[in-house]
Symmetry: C3
Subunit: 261 residues, 3 copies
């Protein structure tokens, strides 16, 4: 990956992130999550640890009402059964009708063509942000991942595109930031990435600038991961420490540890 050029906006992100995280704690935004079966519990716990209020129903009959009373929506495609497929469209329509921000996490679209097609159809409905890794990007964009390709993807989709990996790259096509925080152990816990996207959704609920909100959520999550790694003895204790770390994350730690360009 080409190193991002110097980005004058990046310098302000740690302060903005600290402010947004404290707004989440104060406002307790409702985040409705249509997420995969494996991630539901950890995602809800991450949102609660950050101070947000999760709801998780996937039933097509009631999801519109839940989304209508929520401040942001997460759509995660990790286990894409009949009911979730139907509910996703209803939920997105409800969010759009109420002008609520929504975030798409097209998990493992590289393993299933129908899932990739479904993800593309959802992106046409204009999510505020899309989070993906390089394999998922390639499956959706039809081209290998690179910074320019990601920026093009954001411009075409009118959304923030967040490419997560050893380095996270977040762009709205015009502004691009790279985050080098985080810990390798985050990949050893199921639903860790899914929960990070949920935190970004909580940030979108309290911050209108989707690029800043996405950067704030992913930065705070990565730094919480670094802090958790200090006392973890393996992936089991890491997951526990992650929740504690997120609940106890303060602005000073965020500003001191942020590695953003």
């Amino acid at each position: 990956m080409r190193a991002p050029t110097e980005n004058p906006l990046a310098a302000g992100l740690p302060d903005l992130a600290a402010d947004i995280i404290s707004r989440v704690r104060r406002k307790r935004p409702r985040v409705h999550c249509l997420t995969n079966a494996v991630a539901q519990s950890f995602t809800a716990n991450v949102l609660l640890a950050a101070g947000a209020a999760p709801s998780m129903t996937i039933a097509p009959e009631e999801i519109a009402e839940f989304v209508g009373r929520a401040d942001a929506l997460l759509i995660n495609l990790g286990t894409l059964d009949h009911e979730r497929r139907e509910a996703a469209v209803i939920a997105i329509e409800a969010a759009s009708a109420e002008q609520r921000p929504w975030v798409l996490d097209p998990v493992l679209v590289d393993r299933s063509r129908p899932r990739a097609e479904f993800a593309k159809a959802l992106i046409a409905r204009r999510p505020s942000a899309v989070r993906l890794n390089s394999a998922e990007f390639a499956a959706i964009a039809g081209t290998d991942y690179g910074r320019e390709a990601l920026e093009r993807f954001a411009i075409d989709g009118h959304c923030v595109a967040a490419l997560t990996g050893a380095t996270d790259l977040i762009t709205d096509g015009v502004r691009t930031a790279s985050i080098e925080n985080g810990d390798a152990r985050m990949a050893q816990v199921t639903a860790m990435g899914c929960a990070g996207t949920a935190l970004a959704a909580a940030c979108l609920a309290v911050e209108a600038d989707a690029w800043i909100a996405s950067c704030a959520g992913l930065l705070a999550f990565a730094i919480a991961g670094e802090r958790a790694a200090v006392s973890a003895r393996g992936p089991g204790s890491f997951a526990v420490e992650m929740l504690d770390s997120l609940a106890n994350l303060d602005g000073d730690t965020l500003r001191m540890r942020a590695c953003v360009r």
Copy 2:
């Protein structure tokens, strides 16, 4: 909330709770849980920690057989999809046919009218106990929460009504107890309330007096939460400590810490 009047029955509850919790450990009652997708795993672990034997299938084809071999049934409406809706009715019929106690937890009925309607229809089938918070109570009872309204609800429904919050209030319409134990951190872990209701179901499996059983389950759960809070450093470690605390809860701790009126 009006403070409950002096209740001579309350004084006996800690001893009764200690006895019921030890009966759960000894008899290992089977508790079938039709619960929401987010709560399934934590609920099963809470029941196992308390010494009960959980089963969790939601499939309409087999739930009657599971309930028929169980000692109590929990119905939790937290994620109310097609299949759970269908299975709930079958499960309740099976429990009623075998005269097994069953408990209803109408989670978030205040967020969805169809869910509130469904909850009312289930209450007409006479659960042994219903657990709800004040917003859920208002959505079902159609009136604001207050002690008299709760007692009326219990009388009309021929059930125990347990209103949980900073103070838990448990009534069968005639006998009313308030429990002031617990810890604020319990609200920071997903499915904590759901799991507390499951413990009440386990107590109903070994104690025929539904009011005493409900009080015992909620009291033991709240005190386990207090103990867990002592060593927790955040919501992640709190959830872990909660399970350890419940498994290690002894009668002396229960009697010493109980704050029941």
Copy 3:
């Protein structure tokens, strides 16, 4: 249970297990899990802790593609709803077409006759291995559990049969080993057995001899459980320690603690 006779093959199993566990870490096999709703998250975390790469979708539309790209398949019947029932057959056909090993875990077939019938129909499709406890064995084999009955079951089914309990007995009908490792606390955590079977599936992905692979997975899992019990203070911390223990398990510990005959 009759004690197994001296088994010269057993002496080699700890070394083989150490090698297989390190192969799992090195090759990171993909294991697709069609497992019950309660077990999904813990199972994924156990596989990640062991170094494998889990995928968990249950959707009939996409499971064939996931299985086709996986190195092994787990079928667990713990919550047997419509969709899982349909997906199981599709997944097994995909695994068979690609000659991928697959493992069956017929959880709680003793509680539901339709589930037992379904399990029998799946066994006719020739899993590489079947894991069950004595009640599940009786429900499927139609005869009480005993060593000869288990060996007969393995021969008739052309599979490895792994009977788990205080002692695990693993046979392909010709070779039989018994493992006396493990800890009673493993039964106090939901999905512990399910996750152990998933680890066996990961071992089958890197070792062609299904009996050796099954023995390796169950032995490593049981020893990880013993190590976890050393520092656990209850079932909550035990589950956390189990994941840490599995991630940190080394060949020396495995060889030193193995109690195999």
